[in-house]
Symmetry: C2
Subunit: 423 residues, 2 copies
Amino acid sequence: MKKLKVAIMGLGTVGGGTYDVLTRNREVIKSGYGVDVEVVKILDKSPKRLADKGASEKLFAANIDEIVSDPDISVVVETMGGLEPAGSFIIKALESGKSVVTANKELLSKRLDELLSSADKGGSGLYIEASCVGGVPIIRTLTESMQANRVTELTGIINGTTNYILTKMSEEGDDYAYALGEAQKLGYAEFDPTADVEGFDAAYKLSILASLAFHTRIPLDKIYREGISKITSRDIAVGKSMGYELKLLAIGRQNSDGSVQARVHPAFVPASHPLASVRGSFNAVLLKGDFVDEIMLYGRGAGAHPTASAIVSDIVYCAGKDRPQKNDFGSKLANVSDDFPSEYYFSVSVLDRPGMLSVISGVLGSHGISISKMLQENADGHCAEVVILTHMTSERLFRAAVAELRDVDGVLSVGSEIRVIED
Amino acid sequence: MKKLKVAIMGLGTVGGGTYDVLTRNREVIKSGYGVDVEVVKILDKSPKRLADKGASEKLFAANIDEIVSDPDISVVVETMGGLEPAGSFIIKALESGKSVVTANKELLSKRLDELLSSADKGGSGLYIEASCVGGVPIIRTLTESMQANRVTELTGIINGTTNYILTKMSEEGDDYAYALGEAQKLGYAEFDPTADVEGFDAAYKLSILASLAFHTRIPLDKIYREGISKITSRDIAVGKSMGYELKLLAIGRQNSDGSVQARVHPAFVPASHPLASVRGSFNAVLLKGDFVDEIMLYGRGAGAHPTASAIVSDIVYCAGKDRPQKNDFGSKLANVSDDFPSEYYFSVSVLDRPGMLSVISGVLGSHGISISKMLQENADGHCAEVVILTHMTSERLFRAAVAELRDVDGVLSVGSEIRVIED
């Protein structure tokens, strides 16, 4: 029986969940995997937090040095979150030769090189399954199951908060503010929801996942990001009537010339798309590879216990290794294209007078954009609302066409610009 | 750069696909994972099969001894299928210290102990990702991602042939024989389709997957098995009108007393169930664990390239190991219960006379079975057809009630007994 002594840094939601798993399922892990994992130190602000969690206060560590100086500890779990002091603590642990298991997507996406070089320095392994999409085994799948493939696409619903909000808006017709309030009441959204609703959280994860999938580094600041705070329940209802569900997607694509696309934005997907039926706080990631074709992983993307499940899976995984894990992020910076082809949904308010539709389609046509569907609504003799679905076009052409449309005489406004992903 | 010399035994569909991956993506694997995999021997009936595949005839091996006696070969891929000679060849390779990667579910489910003991004897690893559900990384997920959990449930659509047939019957109203014929034309079904349509193939996989999930051995002959050949398009249409899709499910459950259920049978699932939308030849497996909650993996369960993707993933995975893989099948024989709770759908033909419904519900009630839905159809003054959905009951009680119903005066026949899985 292999024995493993572990320290946990940060006994909050996920750290507490990890403590739960390691105490409640210690025997399950021993009998199933032959590893006896023991929590021997917990770093937190005060011993009281340990007592609240039912952990012995003897485990309390007041500072990082108590952990890195303990030669018995081989794995350090970081569940503090945020950039500092989590970053310095992880670096100390790695450089002192300890394996680190972390759920810290923000830190990984912002300071990956620094962490990897500390791991190299200490000859240590850095284990990150819990950093992306909670209990869904997406990191393990990318590193241990896709080796035969050139991965061409990774598309995911990787933020539970926004998927919960969009599901409520779609299924119950709630408006954005109300659905956000409900998510906050249930603890799915923070008091300041910016990181989730504006797509930052999804971008952190996409930076990690797409770098692993394509073996080329995709820095956070190269990821196009657009959140859901401007989405209206009307957009969702109109899209639904046309056979689409609205989702906040994180999309990585490897183009045939080796350049990549990396973007987080709301998108309409057909109701028959595998991601369309991912509801509520569930997450899913769709991968395409040249030999495996299409695979999808689905599950709980957040929450104390699913995330702790991923952390503990990393602890046991690391116990089985004679050499530290190398993650195949690639070393070269990706060539991230800032234009990408898409179909678009958008609406135009116009004065209700003859010939407006022809003017609009003329402007689009002059930018090489053709229309796949057009729907005119609410014409009342004064104003009319036109909803348009385009065929595939580029970001740049679409922006140029919209800018020109805004100046057309009789056009009152252009809005609700939402991309459409057909497959 | 780690170099790995590999032999392939059997250059059929999957073996040929493996050769494709290893030649076409050799550079992708080198640059992404630092492993250079070279095919140095191919065992097949004649060198002509190699030539047909574009492989050099110099690679031809006429017998297993040419492979096991070659000290340069560290990994042997078995893609011959069937019990013999595949079994003896694998045993020779394992006992001579070579890692074996196999897609052979039938062999694994029938002779697992023998293979594991040969691996022990040779100090070799046995890698089986390709044996179950093609390109879907279900083995890796069970062995490397669920360690934190007591897995309580594994439910899957793990046979592509039957899912293709049932999808055709559901979406196009085809009858069973026609849909089977279409599947045969497309190469999804064999000339003799028994292994697929009667659930043998799914039972092989369930024996492997459930043993890994629950760490307790579930032999093939303990798995309850029922195929789809008696399903009618009318059953599917009536179920659909009640909000259900019909799927051939493989189900493993761990009861709280430690006993397990293991069964393959058609079942109605609600249209909102994650497995209901798995269409055509796609496969999916749903897992439940006490901490991770619910996860689902979805993808191509068969086919040359998806299966080859799994094989090559095992080759690269094995290259990263200093010690041979131990699969956590558990050593104890499972206590497999031969009764399991279920809801049922069934139909009763009765003489169209007053009081029949009350007699039927009386018989069910006397066995402790209550009715959740009842639908009477086609009453024509002579006969009527009654479709019944029960609440949860046991296999034994249901069989006893059906036997008694058949003897009731006025009951012409009882048929279409199909289980219902609500979640």
